[in-house]
């Protein structure tokens, strides 16, 4: 299984380091061709306006939609969460809409409001450390969305089926819990979609067994 990390701008290397620590193979995705090689995708932190421009103008949006249609798992942190949301506010902007939630950009305030906090989650007994940087608020959730963690009463880590969304940056901590959770989710999805394609003659066979780190391009 290969995890693609959208690498047009932002802290994609921090996600890569996390996956390296977990021994998971990944590739940096800057083109539609690279996106097509991924079995699951991480959309990192950074500037959502910059990333959106690349998605719109370089065919990446269509490539990510094709991955979504194949049933791949997605994980977005901060700007990535904004790209995945159904609706984006303040200001309104386009998004992929894979996760049934509405999100407000820079809702805590400017950089001076950026902070490291911690809160309980459903992923482990101890509190999760959460790095918020000019972070958004999730302010509406669809009925099927499961809240995995709240901080200050607000949902900050949620899951809509195979779409995982964090408004903070687990990739900027030493704790691999959230990435492990996503890898499990991605592996389940990759397995079920490869089972589905095994019943039909598949044109592209997703690889499921390999989990060796692959060299960075």
């Amino acid at each position: 299984m290969k995890i693609g990390i959208l690498a047009v701008q932002g802290d994609y290397e921090a996600h890569g380091r996390m996956l390296e620590r977990l021994g998971a193979g990944y590739l940096l995705v800057r083109t539609p061709k690279e996106a097509a090689q991924a079995d699951a995708m991480i959309l990192p932190g950074g500037e959502s306006t910059t990333m959106l421009k690349f998605l719109k103008e370089e065919g990446l949006e269509a490539a990510l939609r094709a991955l979504d249609a194949r049933g791949a798992a997605f994980f977005g942190t901060c700007a990535g969460a904004i790209l995945l949301a159904r609706e984006v506010r303040a200001p309104a902007q386009d998004s992929l809409g894979f996760a049934d939630l509405a999100i407000t950009r820079n809702a805590y305030g400017r950089q001076l409001a950026s902070e490291v906090r911690s809160a309980l989650s459903k992923l482990k007994p101890e509190p999760l450390e959460m790095v918020f940087i000019r972070a958004p608020w999730i302010d509406e959730l669809g009925p099927a969305v499961e809240v995995l963690a709240r901080e200050g009463g607000r949902p900050v880590l949620v899951r809509d089926g195979r779409i995982l969304v964090a408004t903070f940056h687990p990739e900027l901590t030493a704790d691999t819990t959230v990435h492990e959770y996503f890898l499990k989710l991605a592996a389940e999805r990759a397995r079920s979609s490869s089972n589905a394609s095994a019943s039909k003659p598949a044109s592209s066979q997703p690889s499921t067994s390999e989990s060796k780190p692959m060299p960075r391009r």
């Binding site: 690498a7 701008q9 932002g10 802290d11 950074g46 306006t49 950026s114 940087i133």
Partner: protein, 299 residues
């Protein structure tokens, strides 16, 4: 100076964290809200709000100071991306004003006229992150010791000439490579030569890179310039006069954004380089009087 408790450590992490978020992107100098809008729409990951771009500061002379808070505020109200602003070297009161204004990043910049010819701002005192220029590894590590959360090579601002940015990036990465080859007991002497704190020298020797993101600035005028410094190790680029002193700023801004991301893909850089109109005229740095150089400000 802050006590070294967990709070200070977390403050440092969110400062460097914002710098991490800007990687792979282009930070553009803007002097009006309208330019800021053009920059954001072109894909800038942040803008630097200032009153005059470096090329004009160079031409017009006089004392260059922090921009008017009114202009900075207008720019902050116009765009949703991070807004940076420049303070004079050592002018901590300007930095206090910028922090009170709630800018997202402060550039303690040699482009403005220095306020202190010995001391830089003690940046650990601030909650807002700082970026500082450097020409070599020792200078970069001194700035980090003072609390800079991002380093940018200085280049020669307002020149439209990439030669100094290249020199400074090669110098810093070369000096870092050299540190990784030294024995542990040789690092004290290396720290002495670099005039940098031993702890940071040891960290660089261990990791082979700066403990904060390392960006490039000062002379980037074309998509190929951006691709060049990215391949030499810059994690993102600042473009000052290069965009709004060109004949078609919108097109050029988009092209440089594209090249900064696809810096290893020559075909993409070629595509970005076509039909751009004229680049800023630029200066031969060797013809400049040493007194006119901005890069020698800062110590």
């Amino acid at each position: 100076m802050d006590s070294s408790n967990g709070n200070t450590k977390n403050q440092w992490r969110v400062k460097v964290g914002l710098a991490e978020m800007l990687k792979g992107g282009v930070i553009m100098d803007v002097t009006t809200a309208e330019q800021a809008r053009i920059a954001e729409q072109a894909g800038a990951c942040a803008v630097m709000a200032l009153e005059r771009v470096p090329a004009d500061i160079r031409k017009e002379g006089g004392v260059a100071r922090m921009a008017s808070p009114r202009i900075i505020r207008e720019i902050m109200d116009t765009v949703s991306i991070p807004v940076m602003a420049k303070a004079r070297i050592g002018h901590f009161a300007e930095a206090q004003v910028l922090q009170a204004l709630e800018v997202d990043f402060i550039d303690e910049s040699e482009v403005l006229t220095p306020a202190d010819e010995e001391n830089h701002i003690w940046k650990h005192d601030f909650k807002v992150p700082f970026v500082c220029g450097a020409r070599n590894l020792g200078e970069a590590l001194r700035r980090i010791a003072e609390g800079a959360a991002m380093i940018r090579t200085k280049g020669e601002a307002g020149s439209g000439n990439i030669v100094e940015a290249v020199r400074h990036m090669r110098t810093i990465t070369g000096e870092m490579r050299r540190l990784t080859t030294l024995r542990g007991d040789e690092l004290v002497h290396a720290a002495k030569e670099l005039a940098a704190p031993l702890e940071l020298v040891r960290e660089v020797a261990q990791e082979g890179k700066l403990p904060v993101p390392n960006f490039s600035a000062g002379g980037i005028a074309t998509p190929a310039d951006a691709a060049l410094v990215r391949q030499l190790g810059a994690e993102a680029v600042f473009v000052g006069s290069g965009i709004f002193k060109s004949s078609d700023p919108d097109k050029r801004a988009r092209a440089i954004v594209k090249a900064a991301t696809h810096y290893e893909d020559a075909k993409a850089v070629l595509e970005a380089s076509q039909e751009l109109g004229e680049a800023m005229r630029g200066l031969d740095v060797r013809q400049l009087d040493p007194k006119e150089l901005l890069q020698t400000r800062g110590w």
